[in-house]
């Protein structure tokens, strides 16, 4: 079951949008970070089931944070949520180990579909 969700994005508006797109009755616990560095620290501390990661952030960008998270936990489920819709950027984050890439602005159906896929992976892993 997905319980702990970490949202890493420098925009409080983007974090609010993401939370609002998730089903309310699933009992999710939300954790938030405003940059990649804090996101990485929170990831290590709470070990979330799923992490949503923006790419363009101050202090530490999403690429670096993703890379470090994957080094810490190679099974981490990191969903990149970004305004950067360039194919090269998508390829780069997938190569770094992202589970999926979602483009901003978020679509509720896409987001819930990705979470369902993440849920299946977690279920298989036991």
């Amino acid at each position: 079951m997905i319980k702990k969700i970490l949202i890493v994005d420098d925009s409080s508006v983007a974090r609010k949008i993401l939370r609002s797109c998730l089903l309310k009755d699933q009992g999710y616990e939300f954790y938030e970070a405003g940059d990649g560095q804090v996101g990485l620290e929170k990831f290590k501390e709470i070990q979330p089931d799923v992490t949503f990661m923006d790419l363009t952030m101050p202090v530490m960008n999403g690429y670096e944070a993703l890379e470090k998270i994957m080094q810490f936990d190679k099974n981490a489920l990191v969903i990149v949520v970004t305004a950067d819709v360039q194919l090269k950027s998508t390829k780069k984050v997938m190569a770094l180990g992202a589970f999926m890439v979602l483009n901003k602005p978020l679509n509720k159906e896409d987001l819930q579909d990705v979470l369902l896929k993440a849920q299946k992976i977690l279920h298989k892993a036991g």
Partner: protein, 214 residues
């Protein structure tokens, strides 16, 4: 945020605008990458709201180290309407050309602008302004039309900013960013100068945009 900015647009509206600009700039970068086959590294855009009459002093301060500047200007009309100004230090066109042609940039800022550089700036400006304004309009359920881009080249930056032509009640939305490419960086500033009515509409449209996520 200074008092005047707070009077024009609220903190909450600025934050929503920042996120929408981020999305719009992402679209602009993707369009540019597709047209000229380069990878644009997105940076966090900085947004500031000023009275249009303050724009000239703001830009002069930002570009005080530049001898020459190039501005690409496009007017746009919709519920959100105004002037879009994309400002590059001179030499940016040559730098962009060098990036596009994968050649070493051996020119200097003081070199006169040539036709190829002018066309490159116009094309890049057209793509960036069109994608930024167009995406923002789409997100806010507006439709905009544009004039063709025109380029202003000046030896004296303060001559190039058409600040004096603006109504003192108009508002300037500044989006400052650095266009970074895998092959090198180009500094750029994007400004929208818009009317009081447009800003009022923008504020309402930003709240409506967020309503779908309540």
């Amino acid at each position: 945020m200074d008092t005047r900015q707070d009077e024009i647009i609220s903190d909450e509206e600025i934050e929503i605008l920042q996120e929408l600009m981020n999305i719009a700039f992402g679209k602009a970068a993707a369009d540019l990458a597709e047209v000229i086959d380069i990878h644009v590294i997105l940076s966090v855009p900085y947004i500031k709201i000023l009275q249009a009459t303050e724009l000239l002093d703001y830009i002069k301060d930002e570009i005080k180290d530049y001898n020459n500047i190039n501005i690409i200007e496009q007017k746009f009309w919709g519920k959100f309407k105004g002037d879009a100004l994309l400002l590059f230090p001179s030499g940016a066109g040559k730098k962009l050309l060098a990036i596009l042609e994968h050649e070493e940039d051996t020119t200097y800022e003081s070199d006169p602008i040539d036709i190829l550089e002018r066309e490159t700036l116009m094309e890049v400006g057209n793509i960036l302004i069109g994608a930024c304004i167009g995406k923002m309009a789409e997100l806010l359920r507006d439709v905009v039309t544009y004039t063709p881009p025109r380029i202003i080249v000046e030896n004296f930056p303060h001559n190039a900013i058409p600040g004096k032509q603006y109504d003192p009640n108009n508002t300037a939305v500044i989006l400052k960013t650095v266009f970074r490419f895998d092959e090198g960086d180009v500094n750029g500033f994007l400004f929208f100068v818009t009317s009081h009515e447009s800003i009022k509409w923008l504020g309402e449209a930003l709240h409506k945009f967020m309503e779908q996520y309540e």
